[in-house]
Symmetry: C2
Subunit: 392 residues, 2 copies
């Protein structure tokens, strides 16, 4: 049984009341407090606005406090944060904003998300780029993913794309080493090789200090491990990288204007990558969602609890007949991927869903992914293990 404290904490999340939830990597549950922030902001917009000087100033302040809450979480200045609709939009901003030349090379791992793969393929087509895959999936248990990436860099490499925390297997890549190796690699033009990080799974999981590990572009979402509503994410662009990243999708939020409303310059900060009108109440919701986590414990404490929960799940799965975990070592994230001897992964996931257990399949590698958050209980994990053991 969870401690009374944990019970109280979990009671803030209506989604947890009627199911056993292991899909945090898909979407996190929304707390009452975050939901109330969304509802009350929308009401406030209707009462004071919806459009006039007063409410527009208030919503601008909401944008600022949300960027600030995110910046604190990432260990970076507020000015480096752009609010986006989702992680994929953040990746696209970084991908399309570089000054591509025909023949430039992109290096990406074989564990990236289909949406990013498709965007890269289109960019390569339009600008006549080379795309090289760094295969890391098969060497994660015993090989060196940094070498797999660095060995593929050439004098024409402009961008490396990696996930900080792999969405399919839960591995944490040594981002610090990857960034340093890329930044110091000699290129033909002397341009620095930039690293775009898909941080869909790492934000809200790992304690972060992006400034300290030389991150260029870090795209994330608020609706997974941070437990915000779907529809808000963000992008960190370092000040050094910003100088080389032009805005692509552009609107009134991107620009400064003169007295006639003519565009005169980009916003001096991360706002240059924001476009136009968004669902501002969701920003307030994300800010509250982050506050809820901070009240539970520090980022390091939350990460330690996630790993502790994942270890219990991983160990239990290891003990089940016919179940094999993708990772041979204790997990360093909340994502635990495993195979079942039946090979019927979708059938097993659907079967578990009818019993109130929410998990998902992964197609490559063919496996099932179960996610635990810091507030996942022993009892939830043990019941899942029993349900999987009973599947035949």
């Amino acid at each position: 049984m969870p401690s009374p404290n944990l019970t109280t904490f979990r009671a803030q999340f209506p989604a947890l009341a009627n199911k056993t939830y292991f899909n945090y990597g898909g979407q996190g549950p929304l707390s009452d407090r975050a939901f109330e922030a969304i509802v009350s902001t929308e009401r406030h917009i209707q009462i004071d606005g919806p459009f006039n000087g007063k409410i527009n100033a208030a919503l601008s302040a909401t944008c600022n406090t949300t960027r600030s809450a995110i910046a604190d979480l990432l260990g970076v200045p507020d000015t480096t944060i752009s609010l986006t609709e989702d992680v994929t939009v953040g990746c696209n901003i970084a991908l399309w904003g570089l000054a591509w030349q025909a023949g430039d090379q992109i290096v990406m791992t074989d564990c990236e998300h289909p949406g990013v793969i498709a965007a890269v393929a289109e960019i390569a087509r339009r600008f006549d780029l080379t795309v090289t895959i760094a295969p890391i999936l098969d060497i994660l248990n015993d090989g060196d993913p940094v070498a797999a990436i660095v060995d593929r860099l050439t004098s024409r490499t402009r961008l490396v794309i990696v996930s900080h925390l792999l969405w399919n297997t839960g591995y944490v890549l040594p981002l610090d080493e990857i960034n340093r190796a890329c930044h110091r690699f000699p290129t033909e033009t002397g341009q620095t090789i930039r690293v775009l990080v898909d941080a869909a799974q790492s934000v809200g999981t790992l304690p972060l200090d992006l400034d300290a590990i030389e991150v260029d572009f870090y795209a994330f979402t608020g609706h997974k491990w941070l437990c915000g509503a779907a529809g808000v994410g963000g992008l960190y662009v370092s000040e050094a990288a910003r100088a080389h990243l032009a805005p692509t999708f552009i609107g009134w939020r991107s620009i400064k204007m003169d007295a006639l409303g003519n565009p005169t310059d980009w916003q001096p900060n991360g706002q240059r990558y924001e476009v136009a009108t968004s669902a501002y109440p969701l920003y307030a919701g994300l800010r509250e969602a982050i506050a809820v986590h901070d009240e539970w414990g520090t980022a390091s404490e939350r990460y330690a609890a996630i790993c502790d929960r994942a270890l219990r799940l991983w160990s239990g799965l290891q003990d089940l007949d016919g179940v094999e975990c993708w990772s041979i070592s204790p997990p360093r994230s909340g994502l635990v991927s495993f195979t079942h001897i039946s090979g019927q992964h979708q059938t097993l996931v659907s079967h578990l869903e009818t019993q109130g257990f929410m998990l998902r399949t992964i197609l490559d590698p063919d496996c099932i992914r179960a996610c635990v958050h810091y507030f996942t209980t022993d009892e939830e994990i043990d019941r899942l293990l029993t349900a999987i053991a009973n599947f035949s």
Copy 2:
């Protein structure tokens, strides 16, 4: 006094209860019914999800019914609609997806929105394009805006950018004629000149039948005249134009995948221009917002009422000393722009805001914009006229 029927109808909009609202062109008020749809969809996501097979299917259905409601409004097939975050994102999709060649020309009017102007400037810089402004602002009362555009077309013109309904002055451009003239203009490569329409002010105002008037790209938002929540808009791309418009920002919603999750092709319809996770509850809200309008009357009936309301306002303003309406003829939209002899437009708007009247300034031309919707009352208009008359 409004009729009891109108009073009941207006009571659905909490924003109208405590102010006199003339900013529909900035943002429309949210009805209780649309708000409840948003709240109940979010609750539904928490109860059934937030992430599993069941809720993902339900949200996919929500996307479909929302695209369908929009398509009905525009007189086009469902398959031509892409859901976007806002009108500006829709414009960017059309702007960045054409196969630009150095030396290509864009023709745009001098009445376009700053966000679009800035996006065009960046595209021109990146692809070495020519941008030609068709000046129509000063000839709207007595000149021919079609000629102003067509006279600037050249053999290298690829794209013309116009607003259907000008955000600064409320003029309705003859889109049918503009489309036909552009589509029949001979170009060097034989490629059709496409027309991108900023429809921020026209959707929810004008009765529309886009198929009948040869529209290529029509970008709009749900949060202005349609009275949806901020954060949802859309883009219509005709089937003919779709063949020439590549997706730019790309994610899992844009693509089809094989059994390993590898991207294999674009979605066959407008979904190819959608990216990734969005605020789905707002889609449900927009669908309800459209339903609320349809219950009041047909699109033609609503448009007739808007023009009737605008005529009352425009006529009343004409009668005020020191006030001059931008348009010399009766308005054909709900946007009525005027100047005040004091020249202190921001001061007047701020003064009116303290009295509960919500209007806005426009910077170019320097004026004040008051918007009426079909449910604006005589009494609201008359009180505004008195308040302006009393300003000194």
